[in-house]
Subunit: 367 residues, 4 copies
C-alpha cells in the first residue's frame, strides 16, 4: 500500500477532501470486458449515503458517481477508471469555529504535527467521506468478481453496537438488507433503534462491530508470506476510518482456545474438502481454503459528540470541544458497505494475483 | 506488500523453508552509517530460538545469523543487507509420514490447492521458522531506530495464554525480560508454567495474546489513507504465522464504548500535548500522536498436537492425524520477539517515509 | 511503475482517454506546504497545447487544468492532488471510419489483441493527449523542486527534426523559449519551419530528437541498482508516446569511444568537485554527481499521415489507411514540455527517496 | 523498481558486493511447477564468467550458483528462490591503494557523496559483478518462459565495438554462440579480436553496442501507460552497469525518418497479422505485436584503464589514477548474457502481469 493507493494488481487510489469540490477514486488494473455502469455503482453508494434514515447523519449529499474514463460502450477497457463524486452540500460554516482547535479523538492534531498544515473543513482528508470513493471502487470490483467468479456473494452486517449484540442462533442471511442496521435478525432491529436513540439523546455516540463474509471464494487465493489474503484483508479493514481492530475467523478469541477446540477437521465431500467448523475464517497459511471468508472489525464511537470534551488550541491554550455538526451517533452503520467494498477489492486483487502467478485453471486436486 | 516483501522504503524480503539448506532475509533501504553486527542481531534471535526452555519446542537450532552484504567496517553502507541463517537440525524423517496427508489447521491443503505442489518437510515455507528471518531483520531496524530516534523502546509481552491473563494492576515493564513467558508480572510466571504443563500433558496446545508497545515514537509517523501506521502494523502482525486478530489501542472493545468513554482528552504539558488516556493506541487518523504505540495480536493454538484429529489424504481418503514432531504447546511465547521485530520494521519504514515526504525536522508546532 | 502510475514516493497516476469527458492525473506523495496554483500549472500546459501555431495540430483545446483536491489556502497539504482537464473539442466523428481498421504504427492492433476491445475514439488511452496530464503533474513537481532545491532549472529543446540538426557551436540556452521549435538557436528556426512545411505539404510527418537538461541538481540523487536515477529517467522518457530511444550523456555514441576519450576527469573546484567534461550526463553509478543531468530521447514520426499505408481490418481484409484528422507533422515539438515534466517528476521523486533513506543534510564531504 | 528490486510480479532483488563473502538474487513470484536446476542456471553464468578467454578479465571466479530455497524435488514451489554465488577470488589487496581516491567515471565519488561511506573493495556494490546475480535470476526466468511459451527464443549479440560494426547483410543467427564476441558473423570475429588486442595494448578500453532479440513473444504483453513493455525494457537495460543508451526497434534513428519511411504496413498472414518491416521493434503503444522484440543498448568503455587519468582524493588533493586490477578491455562482451537475462526477466514478468489482468487465453482475434 502506498500513501493513498491499495492493491497489487487491482489498484485503487482515492483522493479528495470532505469539503473540496469533489472526491473520487482512480481504479487501475481492472480486467477488460467487464460490463458495469454508474447505476450499478450507485446502489452501493446509496447504501453508504448519509441522510438515509434517522440513524445516520442528516447531511444530505446525493453522492452521485460519474465514470470519467476506462469504459467504452458499457464495458471496461482495461485502462484506468476514474470515479468522481462531487461535493454538493458543503456548508463549511458549520466547521469554522474549530479551525484552531484540535478535536479529541480526531486526526486534527496528528495532521497538524505531521504536515504543519491541514484542511480543517469537515476533517479534510481524514473525513469518513473518503469512504464514498472506496464504495464506488468496490462496485467496480464486485462487477469484475461477478463476471469472473459466478456465484460469489459478499455481505456485511453489524454484530455489535455498544450494548446490543446479535444472537447468532437467530442468524438470518436474508434479513440483512431489510433493516436500518444491516443486522441478520429483523426482529431485533427495533430494540437496536431504541438503544441508538437513547445514545443520541444522551449527546453521545457508540462503537460497533461489523462482520463481512464472502461466500463462494475459490480456494487458492492469497500468497505467502506478506501478501497473505488475511494480511491484505487486515490492512484493508484497518485503513477504514475509526477502525481499531480486525479479526479473521475466530479472531482475538483464538487466544483462549486449545488446539483440540480450534481444529477445523477435514472431510471429503462431494465437491471437494469440507470442514467440521470454520475457526480459520476460510484462510489457512494466508491462502483461501474454499470455506466462507470471515472478517470482523471494530469501529470506535465517533469522537464528534455534543458532550463537551477537554482539549487544546493551536496556541496551546486549554478549551472544551463540543462538535455541533451533523454526525452519526454510530458510524458503524455506514461502515457496513465500506467493509463490503474493501472485501470485494481485496478478493479481486488476489484473484488477479493468483492467475498472474499460477494461471487461470485449478492447480492442485484432491481425490 | 509483495508476496514475500514488506515495507515501503525499509523493505524486507524473507526467503527459505523450514528444512532447506538455509533461510534468511534480504533487507533493502536501510540508512547508511548504522553501526550493527551479528552479535547485536543474535540477541533477538536467541530470544526466539527454540529449545531455550521446557516451554518451547526441543528442536535445537543455533539459529546463528550471518551478514553477507551491505556492511563495511561495521557500518551499513545503504546497500542491501543479506542475512543468512543455516538450517542445521533438519531431521526431516520426523515429517515423512505426512507427505500425503493434510494436517488440519495447517497450510498443507491450501498450498497444495494453490500451487499443485508443496514442500512438505516441516511445513516448508509455511513453517513458523520463517519468523527467524523477520527477527534478524528486526534487529537491523532496531539498530537504525536507536541511531535515528534516541530513547525509543520496543517491548512485547504476553497478555493472555488460554485461561491465564495478566493482571494489569500488577504491570511491571521491567519484569518482562525476567521470565520464560515474557509477562509483565514476575510472580505470576510459575502459575503460567503449571498451566502450560497441564496443556502439554493433555496432548494439547493453547493460544495466546501478545501486546507490543513502542515508547518514544515521534509524532507524525504514518500517512493517510492506506499507508496509515495502524494499517501497516495490522498487516505486519497479521502476516505472522497463526495470527488471527490485531488490535490497536482499545481494539475490538471499542465496539462496546461510547464517545464519552473513548475520548482521549488533550492537555498541554511541558513538552507538548498530553492525553488523559490512550484508547487510541498512540495513533490518530493513521498518524502517531507521540503517545505509546500499542498493538495486540492473538495467536491461535498450534494445530500440531498429539491428540488425533480427523482429516483426509491427497487421494481423498479419510485419516486421523497425530503430529508427533517437536512442537511448542504455545507458539505465542516465541511470537513475542517476532511481534517486536515487526513493530521495529514498521516504525523505521514510516520514519523514512515521513522524512522522505516531509523532511527531517518537525513540521507543525503547538503553543 | 505500475500500469498507469510512476514514481516511488512522488507518485503520478494518469487516467483518461482522448475523447472521453475528461482526463487527468492523481498526484500522491507531494510534500506539504508547497505554494502552487492552477495558473502556475497552466503555463506548462499552454506550452504543450495543440493549436498554438501552424506547426502543431489545429485541434483547439483550452486544456484548462483544475485542482480538485490536496490544496488548502494555496498550499499543498500532503494529501493527493487531483488534476482534471476536461475534453471540450471532441469531434469524434473525425475518427468514425477507422473503428474497424488498424492504423499502421498505432496501438490499435495491440490494444485489440491484448484486451479484446478498445476505445477507438481518437486513439483512446493511447492518444498523446494523455501527456497533458503528465505536464500538469510536472508542474506540481516543478513547484516542489523550486521550493526544495533553489536554483534548479529544467529545460528541454529539440536537437534534431528529420534532416534538421542543431549546431552545438551556436547553442543558446536563452533562445529556447523564443521560437516555435524550442531550439537553442533563434536564427535556425525559420529554416526548420520551411523544412517542416515541406514535410506537411508532402502529406508526411517526421521524427525528432529532444534533449532535456536539469541544472543545479544536487549530488547524491539516485540509488543502486534498479532505482538508479538514469534507470528511472530512461523509463520515464520511454513511457512517453512514440519514444523509441533514450540516452544519458554520451548515449549510444559511448559504444564508439575509448576509455581515454570517455573519461570525465575530476578536479577540485571552489565549491566542490568539477569535471573536465560531461560524457556521463551527470550520473555515475546511477547517482547524480552534481553536473548537469542530460537526457535525450527520439520520437518517431507520427503514423497518422495523409499518404495511404496498407493495413488490415478487424475481419482480416486488406485496406489502405489515410489518417485525415488534425495531426502534428512533428509530434516532437509538443514532446518538449512532456520531457521536461517527466524530468521534474523523476528528480523530485529521487529527492524524496534520498532524504527518506539518507536524510535532509549532505552526507559525504570532500576536502 | 525499488532500490534493488525489479519486476512487478516476477520480482528479482539482487544483493552483495564485489568482494564480500557472497552475492546473489532473491527471486519472488516465480510460477510453481517449473523444472529447473543449478546446472541449467550455470550455463548462463559461465557465458558471463570472467576468465573465459583472453578478451575478458583474468579474474578467475567459478561463479557457481547454489539454489537455497523455493524448490522441491526439482520444481519451483511458488515461494522465493534464493540464488547464492560465493566470492572465492577476492584478492582485495589489488584495490587497497584507491580507497581514498575517486576513480574517474566510477561510482566512487557519487556513492561517497550520497552515503558518506562506501565499500571500496572492487567497487563494492557498484561492481559489474552484481550482474552475475541477474544472470542467475535470468536463468529462472528462461526456464519459466520455456514452460509457458514454447518456442520462445532470446539471443543477444554485439553490433558494435568501437570502430568495429557488424555487417547486417551477413547476419547469421546461428553463428552467435560460436565466437568470443557473440557476433552474428563468424568470419568477422578474428578482425574484432585484432582490434580489441590493439585497444588493450594501448592501455585503453572501448565501448560496445549490444542487441537483444526475443523471437516468439506472444502479442499482448505490456500495458499502458507506465508499465509499457518498452518502458520496462528500457529501465531493465539502463540499470545494467555502464549502459548509457537504450533503443527499441529503430531507436534514436527514428528522429531522422519520415512517417512514410517508418510505417510498418500490416498484412494478413496465415497465422495472423504480418508486417512489412519492424521499425517498431515489436512493440506498439507499449504492447507486444507478435513481431520480434528488439532492444539495443550501448555500454561505455570501462573507466578502469592503465592510462593515467586526473582525479582527486578524499581530502580534495589532486592525483592521477591508473587502474591496475584485472579489467576487461571491453565490458560489452560480458554484457551480452546480462542483456539476455534482463530481457527474459521482463518478458516473464509481463507474461504474468498480462494473465493477471486479462487471463490465460487470447483476447482479441482478427479475421
Amino acid at each position: 500500500m502506498s500513501l493513498n493507493t491499495y492493491g497489487h494488481l487491482f489498484r485503487v487510489t482515492t483522493w479528495g477532501e470532505s469539503h473540496g469540490p469533489a472526491l473520487g477514486a482512480t481504479v487501475d488494473g481492472c480486467p477488460p470486458g467487464i460490463a458495469v455502469d454508474e447505476a450499478f455503482l450507485q446502489q452501493w453508494l446509496d447504501k453508504r449515503r448519509p441522510g438515509q434514515n434517522k440513524n445516520t447523519t442528516q447531511r444530505n449529499e446525493p453522492d452521485a458517481v460519474k465514470i470519467l474514463s476506462g469504459m467504452y460502450e458499457g464495458q471496461t477497457t482495461g485502462t484506468p477508471i476514474q470515479l468522481l463524486i462531487e461535493n454538493t452540500d458543503q456548508r463549511s460554516k458549520d466547521y469554522g469555529e474549530i479551525v484552531k482547535t484540535f478535536r479529541p479523538g480526531h486526526a486534527d492534531i496528528t495532521y497538524h504535527l505531521k504536515y504543519g498544515l491541514r484542511d480543517p473543513r469537515g476533517g479534510g482528508r481524514s473525513s469518513a467521506r473518503e469512504t464514498a470513493a472506496r464504495v464506488a471502487a468496490g462496485g467496480i470490483a464486485r462487477a469484475a468478481l461477478n463476471a469472473l467468479v459466478p456465484g460469489i456473494e459478499i455481505k456485511g452486517y453489524m454484530t455489535r453496537m455498544g450494548e446490543m449484540e446479535i444472537d447468532r442462533s437467530r442468524f438470518d442471511w436474508d434479513a440483512i438488507e431489510g433493516n436500518d442496521f444491516w443486522i441478520p435478525d429483523a426482529e431485533a432491529a427495533p430494540e437496536w433503534e431504541t438503544y441508538l436513540q437513547s445514545i443520541r439523546k444522551g449527546q453521545n455516540s457508540v462503537g460497533a462491530e461489523i462482520e463481512v463474509v464472502a461466500r463462494g471464494v475459490p480456494a487458492g487465493l492469497g500468497a505467502p508470506v506478506y501478501a497473505k489474503l488475511d494480511t491484505d484483508l487486515a490492512a484493508a479493514m484497518m485503513s477504514i476510518n475509526a477502525v481499531k481492530g480486525v479479526e479473521i475467523g475466530e479472531g482475538m478469541a483464538a487466544a483462549r482456545l486449545t488446539g483440540t477446540e480450534n481444529a477445523d477437521e477435514i472431510f471429503m465431500g462431494d465437491d471437494g474438502p469440507e470442514y467440521s467448523s470454520n475457526h480459520s475464517g476460510g484462510i489457512l497459511g494466508g491462502i483461501s481454503s474454499g470455506q466462507d471468508v470471515v472478517v470482523r472489525f471494530a469501529v470506535k464511537p465517533t469522537s464528534s459528540i455534543l458532550t463537551p470534551r477537554r482539549s487544546i488550541r493551536l496556541d496551546g491554550s486549554a478549551t472544551e470541544v463540543v462538535t455541533k455538526g451533523r454526525h452519526d451517533p454510530c458510524v458503524g452503520i455506514r461502515a457496513v458497505p465500506v467493509g463490503e467494498a474493501m472485501m470485494a477489492c481485496v478478493l479481486l486483487d488476489h484473484l488477479l494475483l493468483h492467475r498472474g502467478q499460477v494461471g487461470d485453471g485449478p492447480r492442485g486436486t484432491i481425490g
